[in-house]
C-alpha cells in the first residue's frame, strides 16, 4: 500500500508541494477520505429528503422574507417587518457589541487584578485569589443567572439606586448620562479612533531611524490629540451631556443599558477578568528571577524594572493566552440566549424554529463564529509576531 515519495519530490514547484503535502499511503488515505465523503453525502441527502418531506425549499431565499419577530435591543433600526437577513445582522452586531466591550473592560480589570495578586500585601493578594477561585470553580451560566436575578431584583425607577451622580440603577436597567444629540457619540468615537490611529502611526514612524529626530514623542501626542479635537469642534456637533432624570414612572434623558445586557456584560467581564488575572500573574512569574536581579544590579528602580525588563518578556507569554481568553469571551457571549439577551445564537434559534431552514441557519451561525474567531486570532497573531520578532532582535 505504502508508496515511497518519488525522488522528484525534492524539486520545488506546485506538483512537488502537493506530493510533499500528500505524503504516502495513498490507498489508506483515499479510503478514509472516501468514507468521510460518503458519510457527508448520506447525511446531506437525508437532510434534503427530510426538508422536502416537510415542504421546505433548501437555499437562502428565506433571508429576504420578513422576520416577523421583535428584537429587544438593536444597534440598527429594526422592525418585525424587516427581513431575516437584517434580523441576523442585528443579532451578530449585538454579539460583537458585548464581545468588544467585554474584552476591553475585562483586560483592564484583569491586568489590575493580576498585578494585585502579585503584590506583597497578603490581604490584597488573598482577596484576589479568593475571587479567582470562586469564579473559576462555578459554572459561568450559574454566574449569569445570578447576575440576571440581581439586575431584575433592583428597585423600581422611583426608588432607583444612585451610586454616582448621574448614574441610576433600577429594574429597567442602568441609566447613564449621554450626549443630547444622538450623532455626538458617533463623532466622538470617530475622533478617538482617529487619535489612536495617529498615535500608532506616529509611534511606528518614530521607530524608523530617519524620522527619530524629526518627530518627538510630544509632537506625536500633540497631533494625535489636537487634530481630532479640532475636527470635532469644527464639525459643529453639540456636545452637551444630558443627565437622566426621573419623569413619572421612568427615566427620561441620558441612555439606558438594558438589564439583560448589563447582566451578560457583568457576568462575562467578572469571569474573563479572573482568567486574565491568572494569565498576567503566570506571565510575570514566568520571567526568571535572574532578570529581576540583573536589572537591580544595573541600579534600576522597581517600577522601571517592571516596565523595561519584566513586562516586555512577560508579554510574550501573556499575548497568546490573552488571545484565547478573548476568543473564549466571544464564544461565551452565546450564553446570552439563556438570560434573554438577543445575541446571534438567540436570533438564529428563533429564525430556525420559525422557518424550518435549520441547515442554512446553522451554517450561518457556524460561519459567523468562525469568521469572528479567525479575525481575532489573525489580529492577535500579527501583534504576537511583532513581539516575538522584537525579542529575537
Amino acid at each position: 500500500m505504502s508508496s515511497p515519495a518519488p525522488s522528484g519530490a525534492l524539486r520545488s514547484g506546485p506538483v512537488a508541494a502537493v506530493t510533499l503535502w500528500w505524503g504516502g499511503r495513498s490507498g489508506l488515505q483515499a479510503a478514509i477520505l472516501a468514507l468521510v465523503l460518503l458519510g457527508g453525502f448520506l447525511l446531506g441527502s437525508n437532510t434534503l429528503a427530510n426538508m422536502e418531506r416537510f415542504g421546505i425549499t433548501p437555499g437562502f431565499a428565506f433571508l429576504g422574507r420578513p422576520a416577523g419577530f421583535e428584537i429587544g435591543e438593536a444597534l440598527l433600526d429594526y422592525r418585525p417587518q424587516d427581513s431575516y437577513a437584517l434580523a441576523l445582522l442585528v443579532g451578530l452586531l449585538n454579539t460583537v457589541k458585548v464581545a468588544v466591550t467585554g474584552c476591553l473592560i475585562a483586560t483592564v480589570l484583569g491586568v489590575l487584578l493580576g498585578v494585585a495578586r502579585l503584590s506583597g500585601n497578603a490581604l490584597l493578594s488573598g482577596l484576589v485569589q479568593g475571587y479567582v477561585e470562586l469564579v473559576r470553580s462555578t459554572p459561568l451560566l450559574l454566574q449569569l443567572f445570578f447576575w440576571s436575578a440581581t439586575f431584575q431584583a433592583l428597585p423600581a425607577p422611583r426608588q432607583a439606586l444612585n451610586p454616582l451622580p448621574g448614574i441610576f440603577l433600577c429594574n429597567r436597567g442602568i441609566q447613564l448620562p449621554a450626549f443630547a444629540d444622538g450623532r455626538a457619540g458617533g463623532w466622538l468615537l470617530a475622533a478617538i479612533a482617529l487619535a489612536l490611529a495617529l498615535a500608532l502611526a506616529g509611534t511606528v514612524l518614530r521607530r524608523r531611524f530617519w524620522l527619530r529626530d524629526a518627530l518627538s514623542g510630544v509632537s506625536v501626542a500633540a497631533v494625535a490629540c489636537g487634530l481630532p479635537a479640532a475636527l470635532l469642534l469644527a464639525s459643529g456637533v453639540p456636545l452637551q451631556v444630558e443627565v437622566p432624570e426621573l419623569a413619572g414612572f421612568n427615566f427620561s434623558g441620558g441612555t439606558t443599558v438594558s438589564p439583560e445586557f448589563s447582566a451578560l456584560l457583568v457576568g462575562l467581564v467578572v469571569n474573563a477578568a479572573a482568567m486574565i488575572a491568572e494569565i498576567v500573574r503566570s506571565g510575570i512569574q514566568a520571567v526568571p528571577a535572574g532578570q529581576w536581579e540583573a536589572a537591580r544590579a544595573l541600579g534600576l528602580p522597581r517600577r522601571r524594572i517592571m516596565r523595561l525588563v519584566v513586562l516586555p518578556q512577560a508579554m510574550r507569554v501573556i499575548v497568546p493566552l490573552l488571545t484565547s481568553s478573548y476568543l473564549n469571551l466571544t464564544k461565551n457571549s452565546s450564553l446570552a440566549v439563556a438570560i434573554g439577551f438577543p445575541d446571534l445564537v438567540s436570533v438564529i434559534n428563533t429564525s430556525a424554529n420559525q422557518t424550518g431552514q435549520v441547515l442554512e441557519t446553522m451554517a450561518i451561525m457556524m460561519g459567523a463564529y468562525l469568521t469572528v474567531n479567525l479575525a481575532v486570532s489573525a489580529a492577535m497573531n500579527l501583534y504576537n509576531r511583532r513581539l516575538a520578532a522584537r525579542g529575537a532582535r
Partner: protein
C-alpha cells in the same frame, strides 16, 4: 547616589521572620497601609451582611410562610426541595437508582485519579462501571423502564461530563495522531475538524445536535434528546482533548520514536507501548483542567431544555409554594459545583508536584 540605589533595591532574600515580612507587606509603606485599609473596609462592608443572610437570620426548618417574614436565607426551602434538586423528575420511590449511578460515576472518576489505578485493568472497571450506571438509570433490571426525559439533576450532570470525557478519549487520540501524521489528506481532515469545533461555542454545537441531527437521519429514525446532547458534548470535547494530547506527543523527544523503531515496533505498537503512555502522563493536569471545565459546561444543556443540576435548582424556585428563592437555589448549586471543582483542582496541583519528582 550609591546609597539611593541601594535603598531602592533591598536584598531579595530577607532574613526577617515571617510575621515581620507579613507586617511589612500590610503596613510597610503608606501605599500598602492604604491598600490594606481599603481591603478591610471592603470586607467590613460585604462580610457582615453576607454572614447575617446565610447564617444568623436564616430559616433552617419550617414551612414557606416562615421564610417570607425572615430577613435571611431560607434553607428550609433547600431541605424541602433537596430530592427534587438532586434527582429531578426521577420516580420518587426509586431515587436510590440515580443516587447509586452518580456514586458509581464519582467513584470511577476518583479512583482513576489515583496513580495506583493507572493500569490496563482499570479499563475493565470503567466498562463495567459505566454499564452498571446506565443500567441503574434506565430502570432495569427488575423494574419498569425510566425514559431519559425523567433523568435529571446531579446524575445527569455527572453522566454527561464523565461519558463526555471518556467517550472523547479514543477520538481525541486518533485526531491528535492524525494531526501529526505525514499523510496530508488525513492531517487536513483532522485540522479542519479540530479548528472548526474549537471555533464555535458549545451552545452552537448543542443546537446543531438538537435541530440539525434529527434532519440528517433517514425518515422514521430518531435519536433520544439526551443522547444527542451527549454526542454533541463528546465531539466538542474531543477537539479540545486532541489538542492536549498533541501537546503531550510533541513533548516526547524524537529519540523515543527512534528507539521504538529500532526495537522493531510498528507504528501502532510504538504509539501504544512507548509514546502514548509517556505523552498522556505529561498532560494529565491539563486533562483535569479540561474535565473541570466540562463539568461546568454541562450546565449549557439548559438551553435545549434538558434538566441538569442547575436547571432543577432553578426550577425548584418556580414552585408556587416556594416561589422566588433563587438566591438559595443558586447558592446551593454553586456549593456543589464549588466542592467538586476545588477538590479536582487541588488534586491537579498535587499530581503536578508528584509527577515532577
Amino acid at each position: 547616589m550609591t546609597d539611593g540605589v541601594l535603598q531602592s533595591a533591598p536584598p531579595l532574600t530577607s532574613p526577617q521572620p515571617r510575621w515581620q515580612r507579613l507586617w511589612a507587606g500590610l503596613f510597610g509603606t503608606p501605599l500598602n497601609a492604604a491598600v490594606t485599609l481599603c481591603c478591610l473596609a471592603l470586607l467590613g462592608w460585604a462580610v457582615p451582611p453576607l454572614l447575617r443572610w446565610t447564617l444568623l437570620d436564616a430559616v433552617w426548618v419550617g414551612p414557606a410562610d416562615r421564610c417570607a417574614d425572615a430577613a435571611g436565607a431560607c434553607w428550609a426551602f433547600i431541605g424541602e426541595k433537596l430530592r427534587y434538586i438532586l434527582f429531578g423528575f426521577y420516580d420518587q420511590d426509586r431515587q436510590w437508582r440515580p443516587a447509586a449511578a452518580g456514586a458509581i460515576l464519582l467513584a470511577l472518576a476518583g479512583l482513576s485519579g489515583m496513580p495506583l489505578f493507572w493500569r490496563r485493568a482499570t479499563l475493565w472497571l470503567w466498562l463495567f462501571g459505566l454499564a452498571a450506571a446506565l443500567l441503574l438509570l434506565t430502570g432495569g433490571p427488575g423494574g419498569p423502564a425510566v425514559p431519559t426525559e425523567r433523568w435529571s439533576g446531579l446524575p445527569v450532570s455527572l453522566l454527561l461530563a464523565v461519558v463526555g470525557l471518556v467517550g472523547a478519549f479514543p477520538l481525541a487520540v486518533l485526531l491528535a495522531l492524525a494531526r501529526r501524521s505525514s499523510m496530508g489528506g488525513v492531517r487536513t481532515l483532522a485540522v479542519l475538524f479540530i479548528e472548526v469545533t474549537r471555533g464555535v461555542p458549545l451552545i452552537a454545537v448543542l443546537y446543531v445536535a438538537t435541530l440539525l441531527l434529527p434532519l440528517m437521519l433517514p425518515a422514521g429514525a430518531a435519536i433520544d434528546k439526551l443522547l444527542r446532547a451527549q454526542i454533541a458534548i463528546v465531539l466538542f470535547v474531543s477537539a479540545y482533548l486532541a489538542e492536549i494530547v498533541r501537546a503531550g506527543l510533541q513533548s516526547i523527544p524524537a529519540g523515543q520514536y527512534e528507539a521504538a523503531q529500532a526495537l522493531g515496533l510498528g507504528y501502532w505498537q510504538s504509539m501504544r507501548l512507548v509514546i502514548l503512555p509517556q505523552a498522556l502522563r505529561t498532560v494529565i493536569s491539563s486533562i483535569v483542567t479540561l474535565a473541570i471545565g466540562l463539568f461546568q459546561d454541562t450546565t449549557l444543556i439548559i438551553v435545549i431544555g434538558l434538566f441538569d443540576l442547575l436547571n432543577t435548582a432553578r426550577t425548584a424556585a418556580k414552585d408556587p409554594a416556594w416561589l422566588g428563592f433563587y438566591d438559595e437555589a443558586f447558592g446551593f448549586a454553586a456549593l456543589i459545583y464549588l466542592t467538586v471543582c476545588v477538590i479536582a483542582s487541588r488534586y491537579s496541583l498535587w499530581l503536578e508536584r508528584r509527577l515532577r519528582r
